[in-house]
């Protein structure tokens, strides 16, 4: 690489002024290019904020029969949720909820926060004589299990809930999340809601 001789002389005042203009233009035009490309590029990464509206997913005849035969012991009820996953062909995904036969009075006594105050739910907690719990642990989103003692246990971080979803141990900040249930044309229908974890309030993330 040879020694650059053109920089040895600073040049005339006109040349120096011209070079200052060139430097400013290089910086300015680079900035324009950066903005014109940069803004759309960052914008492409903004996720679709539309979560889709709440929809009712029907229980199959078999699941409906299973629900009607349920006792106070929690049972698993499965159903299909119509999901749209990006550009993939929309499909029905199987989900399950925990159903427990109970009464409004029992639930009000056990979980008053669902009926009053800041954490109140906007839909009825008890429907058709049942409460349906989302299978997602309100701590950090794992799926909890029904333990041998009839209580719910999340294996991820040890949160425990009783059969009415009351938080009894572990790091979760709220009890289990009831989901909407209704009777429609003789069939049970569920709305699937994905709530945000690790906080006392019910913040809806999505309906899928």
């Amino acid at each position: 690489m040879g020694h650059a001789v053109s920089y040895e002389d600073d040049g005339t005042p006109q040349e120096q002024s011209r070079r200052k203009f060139m430097v400013n233009m290089v910086v300015g035009l680079s900035g324009v290019i950066g903005l014109v490309l940069g803004i759309p590029l960052v914008a492409t990464m903004i996720p679709d904020s539309k979560t889709g509206g709440a929809t009712w997913s029907p229980l199959s005849d078999d699941e409906m029969k299973k629900l009607q035969a349920a006792t106070e012991k929690p049972i698993k009820v499965t159903f299909n949720v119509h999901t749209v996953d990006g550009y993939l062909t929309p499909a029905d995904d199987e989900q399950f909820v925990w159903a427990i036969k109970t009464t409004d009075a029992k639930m009000r006594a056990a979980r008053p926060e669902l009926f009053d105050g800041k954490t109140k739910l906007t839909y009825p907690v008890i429907n058709m004589g049942f409460v349906l719990f989302s299978p997602i642990c309100p701590h950090l989103g794992c799926r909890y299990v029904l333990d041998t003692d009839g209580k719910f246990l999340c294996h991820c971080h040890g949160s425990r809930y009783d059969d009415l979803g009351v938080h009894i141990a572990g790091p979760a900040q709220r009890g289990l999340d009831p989901l909407p249930l209704r009777e429609h044309d003789g069939k049970g229908e569920v709305t699937w809601i994905h709530y945000k974890g690790n906080e006392p309030d019910h913040v809806i993330l999505s309906y899928t």
């Binding site: 690489m1 040879g2 650059a4 001789v5 053109s6 920089y7 070079r19 060139m22 430097v23 233009m25 290089v26 035009l29 680079s30 324009v32 290019i33 014109v36 490309l37 803004i39 759309p40 590029l41 914008a43 492409t44 990464m45 903004i46 679709d48 990006g86 550009y87 993939l88 062909t89 929309p90």
Partner: protein, 503 residues
């Protein structure tokens, strides 16, 4: 702050060293093509990285994810269009750079290797264009890539192995898309960036060649920074403005999803392959006996020779002078080649437009693309043959009808029953198909021509008469099939029904 950084990394000194460079004879806009090419490459890398956040390489998701980028991702259409026009800009400016170096004789000693690396960079960029062309997986991408792969297959000795490598299977499908994606996104860019580094390092070692004179050392030196850098950025900025404007006013066409059964589509190559495309069509007009030989010449021997001459040019051209007036031969051949390439490209483009006009081809607009996307979501991706699924398979003649459809109808109406926008009407979700059976039988028996409207879109094609070509029973079977496929529901049709409809 900068001093602190420089003491620990030397980055400021390195940048100063990089920018402090003599330009023999002073800065010139003629030298800005190379830097504009590098800038276009940066645009391609940056926009390409963001496209990979959404693009999914498989036969069932490539089109859908491309359409998703077009229609749902904020600024997605702008970014994909910038990538499309950026590719054209990169190839165009690289060709201009190559041409300028060739005309100025800057490939001569001691810059032979710099030239060879440059030619390899040009070839790699063409490979990027070729592999990127397939990725949207629309009808044109599919057909154009199929042709390109077949051409690669006609190369003697290594042809079959090349096809096996590129296609990764008996036909174009998911594995081909994955392979092209890997080559387009990882393999070639990695090699390209390495070679650009080598090209620049060799350039700095030799210094700029300067204007086409034989006494370059006597020229007064100009400055790279900021004089040449200013001119570089002015040209790059102008190129950028053109790319952005084209991306906004002329986004690339997305046709319907690739359908191997659609044989009515007029495929067209990227503009930088138009000359070879046209050469191939001209060859087809020669007497049959010599077509295979000429075909090989047009697709393999001639392009191969051109590449060979380009690579070896510094060694083939023994003329020591760089002066334009003293190199009539090399510049004459260059001018003739360029004129031939431009002439063939224009002729090829006119040919494509005439062929598209003949079938009244219209690229699908946004609303039509949305309809296509919805219909794809309700119909499985074509596997190349019509399929009968579910309870309707129990209807008499469904299975046989599917075979009749694949053999005779899918070429125009497509295996998905979606036809081709503006040219062949869809049969899927078409009330005419599931409605009055007599009218439908009449259309199949005796054909149909003149303007019609299907699902709000106008068509003016010609449906051939099938009576005599197909037996009444086959017509009944195919009608039962189209009335009960792709979401359609209609009664079965018998051979007796077909025979009863008179002209």
């Amino acid at each position: 702050m900068l001093t602190w950084l420089d003491q620990r990394t030397g980055v400021v000194t390195a940048t100063k060293d990089f920018l402090t460079e003599d330009v023999p004879g002073g800065a010139s806009y003629w030298y800005a093509f190379g830097s504009a090419t590098v800038f276009a490459m940066i645009i391609q890398i940056v926009t390409g990285m963001f496209l990979t956040l959404y693009y999914s390489p498989s036969a069932s998701t490539a089109w859908a994810s491309t359409y998703y980028i077009y229609s749902k991702v904020p600024f997605g259409k702008f970014i994909i269009s910038t990538h499309y026009w950026g590719a054209s800009a990169m190839i165009a400016f690289m060709a201009l750079h190559l041409l300028q170096v060739l005309i100025w004789g800057a490939y001569k000693k001691p810059r032979e290797l710099q030239w060879i690396v440059g030619v390899v960079l040009f070839l790699l960029t063409i490979v990027l264009g070729l592999t990127g062309y397939l990725l949207p997986w629309d009808q044109n991408a599919f057909l154009a890539s199929q042709v390109a792969i077949q051409i690669a297959g006609s190369v003697p000795i290594v042809g079959n192995a090349t096809v096996a490598f590129l296609q990764d299977g008996a036909t174009l499908g998911t594995l081909t898309i994955n392979r092209f994606f890997g080559i387009h996104v990882w393999l070639v860019p990695a090699v390209l960036i390495g070679l650009v580094g080598a090209h620049l390092a060799i350039f700095r070692w030799n210094g700029a060649a300067g204007p086409p004179v034989d006494e370059a050392p006597k020229l007064k030196a100009g400055r790279f920074w900021p004089d040449q850098m200013f001119m570089d950025i002015v040209v790059s900025f102008a190129m950028f403005v053109v790319i952005v404007v084209l991306a906004i006013v002329a986004p690339p066409i997305l046709d319907g999803r690739a359908d191997p059964n659609n044989n009515a589509f007029i495929a067209y190559p990227a503009w930088y392959f138009l000359a070879l495309f046209d050469l191939l069509s001209i060859v087809g007009t020669f007497p049959d006996a010599i077509v295979p030989t000429l075909d090989l010449v047009a697709t393999v021997i001639f392009p191969g020779l051109l590449v060979g001459v380009l690579v070896l040019l510094p060694f083939l051209d023994r003329n020591p002078s760089r002066r334009i007036s003293r190199r009539p031969w090399i510049l004459g051949v260059t001018a003739l080649t360029m004129a031939g390439a431009i002439g063939l490209s224009l002729h090829g483009q006119v040919g494509i437009q005439v062929a598209q006009a003949a079938i009244k081809y219209q690229a699908p607009n946004d609303a039509e693309l949305e309809k296509l996307n919805e219909s794809y979501n309700s119909a499985p991706a074509s596997t190349g043959s019509a399929a009968v699924v579910g309870a309707v398979a129990a209807l008499p003649g469904m299975k046989e009808g599917a075979a009749v459809y694949t053999a005779n109808c899918s070429g125009c109406h497509a295996a998905t029953g979606l036809g081709q926008t503006g040219v062949f009407p869809p049969l899927a979700k078409n009330d005419y198909v599931t409605g009055d059976t007599k009218a439908l039988i009449h259309t199949l028996n005796y054909g149909l021509q003149g303007p019609i409207k299907v699902n709000g879109a106008a068509y003016n094609g010609q449906m051939p008469a099938w009576k005599g070509q197909l037996k009444d029973e086959e017509i009944a079977q195919v009608l039962t099939y189209i009335r009960n496929s792709w979401g359609n529901k209609g009664s079965a049709i018998t051979a007796k029904d077909v025979a009863a409809v008179a002209k």
